[in-house]
Symmetry: none
Subunit: 202 residues, 4 copies
DNA sequence: AATGAATGAGGATTCATTCAT
DNA sequence: AATGAATGAATCCTCATTCAT
């Protein structure tokens, strides 16, 4: 199966199934969502699912890979040719946050998968690539003297931690807006990286 | 059942089952771990499990509640009567990181549960209490003028994000040590909070 | 459907499908072989299969009938007008063995079908006809006094048993050749039928 | 699972399931018989089946191994210490026929399994051991000059063919009895082996 | 003639949970 | 307290067959 040539109608069905699965996986979790749940909601027979996918796990893997590619493309586009490493970091943070807000279900699924032996490997690689990007920005900024000379990987991960976690605050009706949170996140991270800070007031 | 009086031997059995479950849940995930897996590894009959617990979900809830109480106690003890809010934040970060390193399986389970409808509520409350603590420290520091006057909740969550995410780096043979990472985390967070920072070099 | 007029190309398709099915049925068994397996290997759509056959069981029945007709024709041709009943038996044994060696997949399928309620009837009749032939030879030989006067049907079946079972030995690289085995089979059967034998040395 | 310690009640259940499966497998075939068919007829839940067996295939393998052990034991007992190789062959033929008549369902199952990739290996070995026994008798008889000096393995297989095939005639109401058929089989085989036979009347 | 898509019953197997002993 | 046995709904997946195009 793996790479079946699909008619336009087939492509649409496939898309329908993926979208529905994303919704259900994010709402109820991966394991508790049965293939029946998916096909029932789409209103097709069970066989259809296996016509388009190799199985439930394969479907999740596909969703994960797609999501990470999407996010990465978004980050790339946002950063563009920006020369200043700190600005690049800022643009990355903002793009990530916006994407995470717009794709909350995908984010939820990603988080689940990250904690599961079965799927973690699928994510690991993509994640490492993303971190590597930030690490490079950090290194550049260290060379420029803009950032403290500390383990760039740890610093990069700190940025990831702030961004991911704060993105999780978004989406509530009464909570802060993306821009508000993004602003704070950016200031927090950039300040956190700065070379000219004393830890405590002297 | 709920609160059965147990003999010392009973308490030990119970503990055995919990420990084993924590291990298996963290290794293979909650859903993929069956009650059989647990009792088989402990070497007892299936009835035993239901003698001590109301079911698999109830067991997980208990594990979660225990874990959060433990972490919270650890944070409290670390902070003690420290008067300086920034120092309190630092001590909290360090305590949290140490605990997360020492209890990786529990952390894994917690992360899973956070993403599941069935268990999120159990965590939410405890989590909010923890954040509230940090929020208070941040507010105090803002009043002192040590920290930028921004939404304290968001700042608090930024700290949580950094701490949790960086704690995840620990445990690899060849990776950095707790203290190294904790140092960086603390500097990153405290600098990130500081009031006297320009975002970009002027 | 049953008897659809087919173009030459159609006949070839049909033949392709039958050949492929024979191969797969004999290799993996009838039930474990799916219609998909067959059409996939031939490289056509599933509809094609149902254009040419009424279904999987119908296909098998057709294969069986064909095979038995073939074998029977071969036996008839081999025996020709031979007047001596024992010679007729010998020629039948040799023809059967040769055919079974040349059509091992068909033999495998036949054996499977013989043990299944669904298909046994299809075979039974053809088989009885074949045995009836041998029975006649045996009767003739008994009349001639060449063969012990025992139940001719049982004797005929003994011949069938030897022939079929010994044919099963053929085909291994390092095993005996058809002629070697056929020679032994013929000697064994003809001696086994002989009227002038004492069971144990006196 | 594999070797679970069973209570008497458990052993009985197990036996019930095996007996029922033998019946159904022989009547309808292995693949067409579902686990549901088996447990429904026994009147227990589906889980029970998997408490006692690793699966449907594992059950069949067990049935096969058991059957072959049984038959072999029967042959051994029948032959006892008989010194004459031809008599040993005779006793083996008679024991085999009797067993095959008494265990027709097992025989049917065995025949099915012999033709299936999945199970043939399980049978092969046991079968080869049985043939090896006969081969030895034949060799002994050849040394004694009682049997033609031909490939002993082929001769042994001829005996197997006759015995198995003729046993298949038994069991019909109106057909011949075991003893009648066994007598003919023995005469046929022993005569077929004899050294002092001319193939055609001179 | 042929195909891609769909159907949906049915198959093997698992598993949380219960219960008699 | 503990066990072996049992339950049966639910799960993933397969497959013979059909149909619109």
């Amino acid at each position: 199966m793996t790479q079946r040539p699909l008619t336009p109608r087939g492509l649409e069905r496939r898309r329908q199934l993926i979208d529905c699965a994303v919704e259900l996986f994010s709402e109820h979790g991966f394991d508790p969502t049965s293939v029946s749940d998916i096909v029932d909601r789409v209103g097709v027979g069970k066989g259809v699912f296996y016509w388009y996918f190799d199985g439930k796990e394969a479907l999740l893997r596909e969703i994960l890979v797609d999501a990470l590619q999407q996010l990465r493309r978004r980050q790339r586009e946002a950063i563009g040719g920006e020369p200043d490493p700190l600005r690049r970091i800022e643009l990355g943070i903002r793009a990530t946050m916006a994407w995470r807000l717009e794709h909350r279900p995908l984010v939820t699924i990603t988080q689940f998968a990250a904690g599961e032996r079965r799927f973690a490997p699928t994510l690991r690689q993509a994640h490492e690539v993303a971190v590597a990007d930030i690490v490079q920005h950090v290194k550049d900024a260290i060379v420029d003297g803009q950032v403290r000379d500390e383990d760039p990987m740890v610093l990069a991960q700190a940025i990831v931690g702030v961004t991911a976690h704060l993105a999780g605050l978004l989406g509530d009706e009464h909570g802060p807006t993306v821009d508000e949170v993004a602003d704070i996140a950016v200031r927090f991270c950039l300040a956190g990286l700065r070379s000219d800070t004393e830890m405590y007031d002297s």
